[in-house]
């Protein structure tokens, strides 16, 4: 075994493992035990992302997910071994990926970020303790490893071992990992670079009382600034659906409230300030008719567009850079949405109406519709994949 390989919990499966049924007693039991252990862990309390994961794994939460499938998983079994390449920058993602694979009935080898995140250690420690005790029967099901990205031979080894490969991260990651061959029947589930947006009805902002507005902006903060606006779910375009003058009043109110929230929490890195100015100039050059809006300071940088132009998705910057667009209807979306579009968050819309819009227009993107503040919520349906179904096989009787 390579010296570069660090195994944080479990064992790399040496032989094919026995697939389980989706939502098996073993998987539900192990994850709810993990949940209980994490919720009792003192160190975990300081990490809201670990606690959120622990709540995700509570028995009642798992039970609810199972019920949503309403018996439609009958005749299904896990595919075997999943190899996950988790993103380097979102500490807890590896745990969700592993949990989804286990709930679908699979064993996992998870490549966690090679950065030393405390969250990774907390979750792996809890899992290792469970596997050393009453859950020893699942030892080769949740295996978490880390190794540097350059160790392509390890990626090749795990790729040759697995039945499904789950790749999180950017386009470049997907390309590199795909250079490692899979078994003939194995396949990739890929989560590549995505683009997300927020649509707002101005009257909803204008009708809010102060308290509701503060709550909304905190949710918006969590969707964006909390991850430096680097998560694929973070909105980069704010689309105001309404009449121009009303929209201008709502924009002023909304951004002032966002500023109040951001100014207390988010320092300006000089490099990010320059990044955002550069993105503003890029917008000016590439997106004709765009205007850099005057703002309080460099925490929020906004560019108002005259029209939505394909390619505007590349005009982006981390740390609070937003394109804005005002129109009476959502129709302009149809001219730009492509397969890169992922999460549509909303204020003042019925989510079903937005879903119907995506369906009726036959848009090739937008896989997730989420209320502001919930864009990062993990769900078993992600990026348009139903993970339980994708990671299991159905036995047919003819």
């Amino acid at each position: 075994m390579s010296k570069k390989l660090d195994c944080l919990c479990g064992e790399v499966p040496a032989a094919p493992v026995k697939p389980l049924a989706p939502f098996s007693q073993e998987a539900m039991g192990f994850l709810s035990a993990l949940s209980a252990r994490l919720l009792k862990d003192r160190e975990a309390k300081a990490y809201p992302d670990v606690i959120t994961f622990a709540f995700f794994c509570r028995r009642s939460s798992l039970e609810k997910m199972r019920q949503e499938y309403d018996g439609q998983l009958e005749g299904r079994l896990g595919r075997g071994i999943c190899f996950h390449v988790a993103p380097s920058n979102v500490p807890i993602n590896f745990a969700y990926s592993m949990a989804a694979a286990l709930l679908a009935g699979n064993a996992s080898v998870v490549k966690a970020s090679s950065r030393d995140f405390i969250q990774t250690r907390i979750v792996c420690r809890a899992m290792a303790e469970l596997l050393a005790g009453e859950w020893s029967c699942l030892t080769s099901y949740p295996c978490v490893v880390t190794y540097p990205r350059e160790e392509q031979e390890l990626t090749e080894r795990f790729s040759s071992l697995c039945d499904v490969r789950v790749i999180w991260g950017g386009d470049e990651t997907v390309r590199r990992v795909r250079e490692a061959p899979l078994k003939p029947r194995a396949f990739d589930v890929t989560f590549a670079d995505r683009y997300s947006l927020l649509c707002i009805r101005p009257e909803a902002i204008l009708a809010m009382d102060e308290r509701a507005l503060v709550g909304l902006t905190l949710g918006f903060y969590n969707d964006t600034y909390l991850s430096d606006q680097n998560a694929c779910t973070s909105p980069r375009l704010v689309y105001w659906v309404g009449e121009r003058q009303q929209a201008d009043r709502a924009r002023e109110r909304f951004w002032n409230a966002v500023y109040a929230c951001v100014s207390a929490r988010y320092p300006v890195e000089p490099v990010i300030a320059v990044d955002k100015l550069t993105a503003g100039c890029r917008a000016a050059i590439r997106l004709e008719g765009s205007r850099m809006e005057p703002t309080q300071d460099n925490r929020i940088v906004r560019v108002l567009l005259e029209e939505l132009i394909p390619g505007m998705e590349d005009v982006r910057s981390p740390g609070g850079f937003f394109l804005e667009y005002v129109d009476e209807t959502l129709d302009a979306l149809c001219t730009v949405v492509d397969a890169r579009y992922q999460t549509l968050s909303y204020v003042g819309f019925e989510p079903e109406v937005l879903k119907r819009f995506v369906m009726e227009r036959g848009l090739s993107g937008i896989d997730r519709i989420a209320a502001v503040g919930h864009t990062m919520d993990f769900s078993l349906v992600w990026d348009g994949y139903d993970l339980i179904r994708s990671l299991s096989r159905k036995v047919a009787v003819l």
Partner: protein, 360 residues
């Protein structure tokens, strides 16, 4: 705008605060207009900028372009037929480089102004020059790199020149000895890039056990402290090393960049970098890009009256520094004087947009 003959004939450090402010505001505002009419990309940036040109009460309120933009876009204010040469920054392999487009006018302005500034330190006479670098740098004309351009630009002050390093970057002791024999008793102009001087010239002298007498030397060096700062080498240590290895005591660092060639900021006898008549530094607060107070650190904006063939007259750099004073440096030169703290650093990014972290 001041005509091309008058502009370079101005005294380099002779304009007092209020006069210079009015001069820069008038000239730079006209330059903004000039470029907006000739460079479509620049015109679009001006239209998109949150404030309007005609409302600017001083040049500090005019739009500033991030220097990085010249790596991403080909920004020029002249027709392709009028292009004389293209300068590129010497980025490390794999990095994007800045492309700066020069016509004959801008190129000539740069040489004339550089001559005026450096003349203040070297005197009016051309001197024997030792280039503390390898001739290999300028032998590849395919890429006109910043290092090659610097050497050629400063060669105008040479009566006769020699390269201190051979093509393998080793000290050429024989050539140096012959050159110094020939020019005994004369002032010698030494030129090079800070890190190359440290890494190859000083180290080469040690290695060869050769102690030339350069007490009549005047050294001008630039290119930035980053690599020396990484090795924890201070200005004092650098100067002490030069004094001990070859006896040179007149040492002037300069701050400049390929995006604004010509208007360099020379270090005076008191260790301060000075803005010459044709250019200025403005320190901006990263929080909101407002103008910082004297002694307050921030991002350095450089403004220069020379760029006419490309819209590089007002640039926001990624360097940090602070203004130490204006018109009152003990060396007697007018204009702002300042110091550089270094390049701003990129923090670790969060988010899921990239799985593969770079190898440290």
């Amino acid at each position: 705008m001041t005509d091309l003959q008058t502009l370079p004939s101005l005294p380099p450090y002779g304009m007092a605060k209020e006069e210079k402010r009015a001069f820069l505001t008038a000239e730079l505002t006209q330059l903004c207009d000039w470029h907006a009419q000739r460079c479509p990309e620049y015109g679009r940036i001006l239209s998109a900028w949150p404030t309007r040109l005609e409302k600017a009460a001083s040049y500090e309120q005019l739009p500033f372009l991030p220097v990085r933009l010249f790596k991403e876009f080909s920004l020029k204010s002249v027709a392709d037929e009028a292009l004389h040469k293209t300068m590129t920054s010497s980025g490390t392999t794999g990095q994007q480089v800045s492309k700066i487009y020069l016509d004959r006018e801008t190129s000539a302005l740069q040489s004339k102004v550089l001559a005026k500034i450096v003349g203040e330190f070297l005197g009016k006479q051309r001197l024997p020059m030792i280039i503390l670098d390898s001739s290999a740098v300028i032998k590849n004309p395919a890429m006109f790199s910043a290092r090659g351009a610097g050497i050629l630009g400063f060669s105008i002050f040479a009566r006769e020149k020699v390269y201190a390093l051979n093509e393998r970057m080793e000290l050429d002791v024989e050539a140096l000895k012959a050159f110094l024999d020939k020019h005994q008793g004369e002032d010698i102009f030494l030129f090079g890039f800070t890190f190359m001087i440290w890494q190859h010239f000083c180290a080469g002298l040690h290695k060869a056990g050769y102690q030339p007498d350069l007490s009549k030397g005047i050294l001008i060096h630039g290119g930035g402290w980053k690599k020396l700062a990484d090795q924890k080498i201070s200005t004092e240590r650098f100067k002490a090393e030069l004094r001990e290895t070859c006896g040179v005591t007149r040492v002037h660092n300069y701050y400049g960049m390929v995006e604004q060639t010509g208007t360099i900021y020379m270090e005076c006898e008191h260790g301060h970098l000075h803005a010459p008549t044709w250019s200025d530094v403005t320190i901006r607060r990263p929080e909101d890009f407002s103008v910082a107070d004297k002694n307050e650190s921030g991002l350095i904006q450089v403004s220069s009256l020379l760029p006419r063939s490309y819209p590089g007259h007002i640039l926001l750099t990624e360097d940090e520094g602070r203004i130490l004073g204006e018109d009152d440096c003990p060396c007697g030169r007018m204009g702002k004087y300042f110091e550089i703290a270094g390049r701003i650093q990129r923090a670790e990014v969060r988010g899921c947009s990239d799985t593969y972290e770079q190898k440290a």
